[in-house]
């Protein structure tokens, strides 16, 4: 390994997979989960219209995808009321974060985020040699004021902020996000992750301002649209910022079926609203299940509910493991004090019923062990 002629930066990086997928866990366990509620997937699935579009398009997979993502960019732009020049499509928000970090970060450049926020963003910052600086969450929410202060103090070039937030499910009203933007130092760009934006209450997402090169908004078809497996997301921003993605992106990175499915998904807003309603019900049910078991569900503007298990990280991990032993896949935040919680995704009633049936024993076992 040490003899490979890789760059010093690459040599310094660990080989890792940022998330252990449920398939990996299933292979280790030797069997499938009964409730797949850990990855904030949308268990209500994509719209039937979208599934039909994919099935119809499958035979055309011999054609390369459109490297310009033209039709999808047009559809997104029309949906948002911006120009196609303000939209770039990529291989999931993860892929777009990779390109963004590559564009702005080189060794030594500071990047500001919250301690315990999205790990894949951090993976990319490390991957390009950035210097990650963090502030803690405050009361289970990201702390925009502290983040802006940090960015100024450290001369951060990129600032990560998710609204609504993962892994806590919390959110800030648009006015606070706008204040964060105003408080950024000169030369800083905000990566505003709105992956869960469709689930948030009215007034959470600031109006789009594509004249502002200091903000890049990230949205995805993985969550509300139920297309996590297709790897298609987009960023919205000022047109010169967006055009810069063409300098570095894998132009043929977004699968042809994914492009078509995303266009079909945008066209079926009725289904989207149905799903958002189902997710809201599931969140309420998850909160009730938590309370029934003496746990404290946190408020959520996402498709998951983060549940305070009332003790430390070791205890929450035991709860998670006991749930896994009972065929329930959930995840938990990675850093204290957030890691006193487990994070359960919204899903169909049958899976939540099953969760409700095994949670009492899981807690008992976790307390006893």
């Amino acid at each position: 390994m040490n003899d490979l002629p890789v760059t010093p930066l690459v040599r310094s990086l660990p080989s890792s997979v940022p998330f252990v997928g449920p398939e990996t866990l299933e292979r280790r366990r030797g069997g499938p989960f009964r409730a797949r509620l850990g990855a904030n997937e949308n268990g209500f699935g994509p719209a039937p219209s979208v599934v039909a579009a994919m099935a119809a398009a499958a035979a055309q997979s011999w054609k390369y995808c459109d490297p310009e993502n033209h039709d999808l960019k047009q559809a997104i732009a029309a949906h948002l009321g911006v120009a196609p020049e303000n939209v770039v499509v990529g291989e999931g928000i993860d892929g777009l974060f990779g390109y963004t970090v590559r564009m702005f970060v080189e060794p030594g450049i500071a990047v500001a985020t919250s301690q315990g926020a999205y790990p894949t963003f951090n993976f990319h910052v490390a991957g390009y040699g950035g210097r990650l600086v963090t502030v803690p969450y405050a009361n289970d929410r990201e702390d925009p004021q502290a983040l802006a202060d940090l960015a100024r103090r450290e001369k951060a070039r990129l600032v990560f902020f998710a609204n609504p937030d993962n892994p806590m499910g919390s959110w800030w009203p648009a006015a606070d996000v706008t204040r964060l933007i105003s408080g950024l130092p000169d030369g800083a760009v905000l990566c505003l992750d709105e992956a869960y934006g469709e689930f948030a209450p009215e007034g959470t997402l600031p109006p789009l301002d594509v004249s502002d090169p200091r903000v890049i908004r990230f949205r995805t078809f993985s969550k509300a649209y139920g297309l996590a497996g297709l790897r298609v997301a987009y960023a919205v921003g000022e047109k010169d910022v967006i055009k810069s993605f063409d300098k570095v992106r894998n132009h043929f990175g977004v699968n042809k079926l994914a492009q078509g499915a995303a266009v079909a998904a945008l066209a079926d807003q009725r289904y989207l609203h149905e799903v958002i309603g189902k997710v809201k019900e599931a969140r309420e049910r998850l909160s009730a299940i938590a309370r029934d078991n003496g746990l404290k569900p946190l408020p959520s503007a996402t498709n998951f509910v983060t549940i305070d298990c009332g003790r430390d990280g070791a205890f929450a991990r035991r709860v998670l493991e006991e749930l896994a032993r009972r065929d329930v896949f959930v995840r938990m935040p990675g850093v204290p004090p957030l890691d006193r919680c487990i994070r359960i995704s919204a899903g169909p009633a049958s899976e939540l019923d099953y969760l409700a049936s095994v949670l009492p024993d899981s807690l008992k076992a976790a307390r006893g062990s």
Copy 2:
């Protein structure tokens, strides 16, 4: 634009799309092509078994893809007789080239290739600040001896060699590739692009030697397997080299449907062999069409035939434009003297019939203009 706080390297890069897709041309023309023979796609399409697998899997697209690509890596490894640890799956060969260049290249590092070889590889080299050095093709083939000499002279860290070659369709026997590998300087790694390997005569691909960290082999499901739109390819190499991809790759980059389709495609070798037979027939037909029109088809070990139009690049471009005017999409090499040729992909008989019907007039118009 100049005010964006991007890195100096990114500032220096052009915003570009390496290939103009046929969809873009169709939008400009205002209508579809009748013969799509320009992108070395496989117009015979994927196997019916693969299309059925995709259609059946579409409703499961709400699940994230397996970031380890486990099942596909197992299937590829079994197919090739190597270990899964010798295989990395990525978003097309383009995506894997991006990761490879990132791993080995930093500003100023020399990378050796042939003048007129695959442009997307060069796009990535530029994108990471590499210094591209080239040797010309010799007699319409890459020149492995000159390439090895160049690599030694320039202390190249990466060397690109495609066998069979695109855009010329030429190839070298395995022994010559092995000689190229032996002739590489210390600290150089060969990127051996075998995208067209399935079409090549027996004895073209050197035996896999996964003990050698100096060679990374790239193969794809885009060509012989007819899945260009799905963006799934793989690299085979020594296990520490392969493990290094985990340092930099977008772990969730390969679409779930693509992973499943590729597994299904590998399982249907009967269909693969049928397609390879059809491609061979189509190559012969394309060569006959060329000769019937007084043009010189070059020998090909790929799914396309490169045709010497007998004059200079300007003339070949006129032929290409006249074909496009008659609804035929083809492409041509980018640099002299290769650009005296046009490059036509194998495709169904109906498309080749149509090509044959319009080529005489296209040539006449090109000569007259």
